[in-house]
């Protein structure tokens, strides 16, 4: 069983809240998951290899900065999902009073 302070830390880190029921579940699971993750501790040879971030180790392709499709002047790409006001996306305030 993990201490609830760890769950509080996870919530803060990930900016979300677990319900009371979810907290009980994660408290009982997290120890087992961390135990599984710790399986990697004793693998031999880890120190001498580079991390493999991506299986396709190719350079990021670049192309000319030209639009492929028509420019979305009517904000069609956002209209179904964002709140628009005078053509701008409305968002919560990011700075204090």
């Amino acid at each position: 069983m993990y201490e609830s302070s760890v769950i509080d830390y996870l919530e803060k880190l990930a900016l979300l809240k677990f319900t009371d029921e979810e907290k009980k579940r994660i408290e009982s699971e997290i120890g087992k998951i961390v135990e599984l993750f710790s399986e990697l501790v004793n693998v031999e040879g880890l120190d001498i290899v580079e991390p493999l971030y991506h299986v396709v180790e190719i350079e990021l392709p670049l192309r000319d900065d030209e639009p492929l499709n028509e420019i979305d002047t009517n904000h069609e790409l956002l209209s179904g999902n964002a709140v628009l006001e005078n053509g701008y996306v409305k968002a919560p305030k990011t700075v204090g009073e």
Binding site: Y9, L10, E11, L13, A14, L15, L16, K17, F18, E22, R25, I26, E29, I30, K32, I33, L36, F37, S38, E39, L40, V41, V43, G45, L46, V49, E50, P51, L52, Y53, H54, V55, V56, I58, L60, P61, R63, L68, E76, L77, L78, S79, G80, N81, A82, V83, V89, K90, A91, P92, K93, T94, G96
Partner: protein, 495 residues
């Protein structure tokens, strides 16, 4: 069996349907009529779809298709063929939810590249299929809406995360489907539902429009009731896409022609049997899987290969997947996408927290939170970097294995399809059941799940993996097995 449905028609492979449709395009309506009768009868029990296109809308689409395609029907590779699409793949104008409250009302303004390609070949999307929320799960039980049931036994799960796609194909609701596979999400449900499923080489199929879970491992792939149908679908979706920067700079291949050529020439291959993955499987699975491998070994040369890692593979997979997920799912901020909550007089942080708390289900929250933890100061080196280093060691291990054999074989899943709720108390157990499938995603190689037999009415499948970009070899062996086992075009009788 559903009344007034010709099962001979419903179970027909798409390469035969195509011939019929091209001779008489009106037959598309006929076939769809039967498909919708099946759906009407079984869908309330199976719940394979999140969004099902109404029959009249689909009929109108076919009318338009026939008009627009005059003169080009013969060259279209999927003319009139209905397809079920996993609800993680963006479809313009059709709700795409990822089985999450977060995207419950999200209607994409554009098509994924794979969808564009299907439409160009004349395919008809009949619905968006259920899945684990954001593809995080192996049973389709983490869907925010409802679980899907296994058509072979309604008390059991269909596997996941592409469980809806697999259940739709195996119950006759659709002849083919698209799934996505990050750690086995195509192969696991294909195995549990008794159909064929293929995870392509990383970078072979465009991910443009696939809502990301773990970008370095996600791939879209085909699901079908026989090998040739699988090859037809793969040929269409594979090939370079400039809109996906991880797409490999290569064209598609005609996998159907390649498979037929290989079946004709019948080259003898060296097959590596991964001993540990057989030995760690349930007895029933192991016995049946060994038996079918024997069928391959009467012709090909088989040798035992050893994999010196077990739980470490699963650990590395979940660390990388959770880390990438925590970053990918940050985009659902309720502003550009995601659940809408009122944000008058609330700060960004308050809104963001509320959106994520209400929008994500338990499994997603858990993985996002653990992903953030894994990437946080002090733990990044301990978990994330270590997992990535292990990933290289695993890749080198398989590079070495593939110097002595052409392919490796194992059961697809070490267990039979579990009952609904069976793994609720012990999530580690279900994570560990992914051991056979996550390997291909970690190292980017192709893998196929081939249904081979039944045990007590439940399907059993084997998995074959090969070197990058040798999908045709997997399809060749699949075809050979299909001939030997007769496991093709089988539809589950839903009770």
């Amino acid at each position: 069996m559903v009344n007034n449905v010709s099962y001979k028609y419903i179970s027909m492979p798409i390469y035969k349907l195509l011939q019929e449709f091209k001779t008489d395009p009106m037959k598309v309506f006929d076939y769809l009529e039967h498909v919708y009768r099946v759906i009407e009868s079984v869908e309330t029990k199976i719940k394979a779809f999140i969004t099902l296109m109404p029959q009249d809308a689909v009929f109108r689409r076919v009318e338009t298709l026939i008009k627009e395609s005059k003169g080009k029907i013969d060259s279209m590779k999927l003319f009139g063929i209905p397809i079920a699409v996993k609800d993680v793949i963006s479809t313009k104008g059709i709700r795409t939810t990822c089985a999450s409250r977060m995207l419950e009302n999200y209607i994409p303004p554009y098509n994924a590249t794979v969808i564009e390609r299907l439409i160009n070949e004349g395919s008809i999307i009949i619905g968006k299929t259920n899945m684990d929320e954001f593809a995080m799960g192996s049973t389709t039980e983490t869907s925010a809406f409802y679980p899907t049931r296994n058509p072979w036994d309604l008390s059991r799960v269909p596997g996941g995360s592409s469980g809806g796609s697999a259940a739709a194909v195996s119950s006759g609701e659709a002849p083919i489907a698209l799934g996505s596979d990050t750690g086995g999400s195509i192969r696991n449900p294909a195995a549990f539902c008794g159909i064929y499923g293929l995870k392509p080489t990383y970078g072979l199929v465009s991910r443009y429009g696939l809502i990301a879970y773990a970008s370095s491992m996600d791939q879209i792939g085909p699901m079908a009731r026989n090998t040739i149908d699988l090859a037809i679908l793969l040929s269409i979706i594979a090939g370079h896409d400039p809109k996906d920067s991880t797409s490999l700079p290569i064209g598609s291949k005609n996998y159907v022609a390649l498979v037929k050529e290989l079946v004709y020439k019948e080259p003898k291959l060296r097959i590596g049997i991964i001993k540990e993955l057989f030995e760690n499987s349930d007895e029933n699975v192991k016995v049946k899987a060994y038996k079918v491998v024997d069928k391959l070994c009467t012709y090909h040369e088989c040798l035992t290969v050893s994999l010196p890692y077990g739980k470490q593979i699963v650990a590395a997979y979940y660390i990388i997947a959770m880390a990438e997920a925590s970053s990918n799912l940050a985009r659902f901020d309720g502003v550009r996408y995601g659940l809408k909550v009122p944000f008058e007089n609330k700060s960004w942080e308050e809104v963001y927290l509320e959106v994520r708390t209400k929008g994500f289900g338990y499994e997603v929250k858990k993985r996002v939170a653990l992903g953030a933890y894994i990437l946080s100061v002090g733990y990044r080196d301990m978990y994330y970097i270590r997992a990535l280093k292990f990933r290289r060691i695993l890749k080198e291990t398989f590079d070495k294995i593939f110097r002595s054999v052409d392919v490796v074989v194992s059961p697809t899943m070490p267990i039979l399809p579990p009952k609904l709720g069976e793994f609720f108390e012990d999530p580690i157990k279900i994570y560990l059941a992914d051991i056979n499938t996550v390997i291909a995603n970690l190292i980017g190689i192709p893998a196929i799940s081939i249904p081979v037999d039944f045990y007590n009415g439940l399907p059993i499948a084997i998995q074959i993996m090969s070197k990058q970009l040798t999908e045709e070899i997997l399809l060749y062996l699949s075809m050979q097995l299909e001939e030997k086992t007769g496991f093709r075009n089988i539809i589950a009788e839903v009770h």
